[in-house]
């Protein structure tokens, strides 16, 4: 792998131990995956922020990198944290956890990382343009950036994303290269898609299907004519969760599809497949649900407005988390949506979510409109789940 003189200087430790360790990580990954060189990245998004996932070891590593002079070289934001730093007591988060979570955020802040914690960085200024190289870690955001925006990133882990931030570089392999962005399987969708659970179910069907194949293949998806931001972010979250998919093409919707065209091998997905996927994600009876959440991935302002309209003048009957990023919450505050939602008894869980918060075993069953949230509710936290349409969920919350 070719390193420039500037990169060799970083590797020799001339900019301190944190940058040196970062370049060691990137150069080694480059060698493992056959990169010929490093490329500059325009932005970074780091996962592994919740203390629930990092633990003592992860925090110790971040503190060591901060103490070693680590400083973000490009615009860098974070994935959701384990708690809302303002509203955590209302969400039942312990003071001991809060203290550790604050230490994690302080370490990132010391390194010049923007400590807004969200899986939808593209909604508040971490918005790469077509063809731009970036190093992002959150799987749903990676899929959105590659597919919908046409930016270029691999699925980074927490340490490799941090290393990219502290050096402004990433090894050129995988989805940074044209040859790995070509579609390998044509997926034709014949089922109508109307609400978020339809897109989540479609992501699960395609994701599960790709998981059963030994070779990683980029899906080329036809038959999808709905292209709202909210539905696409839900689809990205689901296909990344169930299939590890970092890139798909959708003609008429994603920017690289038309130039590439469909591959020859084709499969068809219909209504019955989606219904089966939805049934798989629904294990709880309606009366078992003691926890509801909307905002996986984090809500847009339009979705928060829809929640405010649905809850206005009503009272929720169960624990109900509204999860979004702090910049979007700020807009909701100004528009009066926050007051309406809180008046109805629902709780904002800002810069966190039901996937990364330390809530294992606290509830019996989660109702949500997100296929990804259903997966982690069961796998990580041991909850039963119900997958509902957005408006159905609002009706359920006040039942």
């Amino acid at each position: 792998m070719h390193l420039t003189p500037a990169e060799q200087a970083l590797l020799a430790g001339e900019s301190g131990p944190a940058a040196q360790k970062s370049l060691q990580i990137l150069a080694t990954l480059g060698r493992i995956y056959g990169a010929e060189r490093m490329i500059p990245v325009r932005s970074v998004q780091i996962a592994g922020v919740s203390y629930d996932n990092l633990g003592e070891a992860g925090l110790a590593w971040l503190a060591e990198m901060a103490a070693g002079g680590g400083r973000a070289q490009v615009f860098t934001t974070l994935n959701p944290a384990g708690m809302d730093v303002e509203n955590y007591p209302a969400l039942g988060i312990s003071e001991a956890f809060a203290e550790n979570q604050r230490c994690v955020l302080a370490a990132f802040e010391a390194m010049g990382v923007v400590t807004t914690c969200s899986c939808t960085p593209y909604l508040f200024g971490n918005l790469p343009h077509f063809g731009e190289h970036i190093a992002w870690a959150e799987s749903s955001a990676v899929c959105f950036a590659n597919s919908v925006l046409g930016a270029r990133t691999n699925r980074e882990g927490g340490p490799s994303a941090l290393a990219a931030a502290l050096t402004g570089r990433t090894p050129a392999y995988g989805y940074h290269l044209d040859e790995n962005r070509r579609p390998g399987l044509h997926v034709q969708v014949t089922a109508p898609l109307t609400d978020t659970p339809d897109f989540g179910a479609l992501g699960k069907v395609i994701g599960d299907l790709l998981q059963t194949r030994s070779v990683e293949r980029v899906p080329y998806i036809t038959g999808v004519h709905e292209d709202s931001l909210e539905h696409l972010k839900s689809f990205c979250a689901s296909i990344a969760t169930f299939g590890g998919v970092a890139l798909f093409h959708m003609p008429g919707i994603t920017p690289e599809a038309d130039a590439l065209g469909p591959p020859s091998e084709k499969i068809t997905i219909g209504q019955r497949d989606l219904e089966a996927a939805k049934a798989d994600l629904t294990s709880a009876e309606p009366d078992e649900v003691d926890f509801l959440s909307l905002g996986c991935p984090h809500l847009t302002l339009g979705e928060i407005e829809r929640i405010a309209r649905g809850l206005q003048g009503k009272q929720v009957t169960r624990e109900f988390w509204i999860t979004t990023s702090r910049p979007v919450k700020g807009m909701a505050d100004r528009m009066g949506y926050t007051a309406i939602i809180e008046e109805a008894g629902a709780k904002f869980a800002t810069d966190t979510c039901c996937v990364v918060a330390p809530i294992k075993g606290r509830f019996t069953a989660l109702a949500t409109d997100s296929a990804k949230a259903c997966y982690y509710a069961y796998a990580k936290n041991g909850f039963k789940t119900r997958l509902l349409d957005f408006d159905e969920l609002l009706a359920e919350a006040v039942r």
């Binding site: 070891a57 992860g58 110790a60 340490p159």
Partner: protein
């Protein structure tokens, strides 16, 4: 006998071989406070990786696993070295941040549990008496 491979993280180490034929998930599969393999049904379940030359085909699981190697090192329970058939991101990053000598692209079928291994990761080689 000397087997050759590729340097992932340099350094010299020696120790007893602990050999798995299965992938290892450090996050959730190894206890960072005891060094014991805890994954149910794993061929190393219940064994300690501390101070051993840990030989396995490849890593798997969550990228948070890299931090488990770092924590093991701080607890004095890290393996002396790691030898893989094909190293991946989680193990490679873990070895770099915990400074554990590591080589891959080694024919690990030649190595049996209990052998005493001399690892020179800088040169990408591992030696033993067959």
């Amino acid at each position: 006998m000397t087997l050759r491979g590729r340097t992932i993280y340099p350094g010299e180490a020696s120790g007893e071989a602990l050999v798995s034929r299965m992938g290892i998930s450090f996050y959730g599969g190894v206890d960072p406070d005891s060094g014991l393999v805890t994954e149910a049904g794993h061929d190393l379940e219940g064994q300690s990786i501390a101070g051993k030359v840990l030989v396995f085909p490849t890593g798997k699981g969550s990228t948070v696993g890299s931090y488990v190697l770092y924590r093991l090192k701080h607890n004095g329970l890290a393996p002396a070295a790691i030898i893989n058939s094909a190293c991946e991101t989680i193990t490679a990053v873990g070895c770099i941040i915990a400074e554990i000598p590591c080589i891959d692209q080694v024919d690990i079928t030649q190595i049996a549990a209990g052998m005493r291994l001399e690892v020179d990761a800088e040169r990408g080689q591992v030696s033993f008496q067959p």
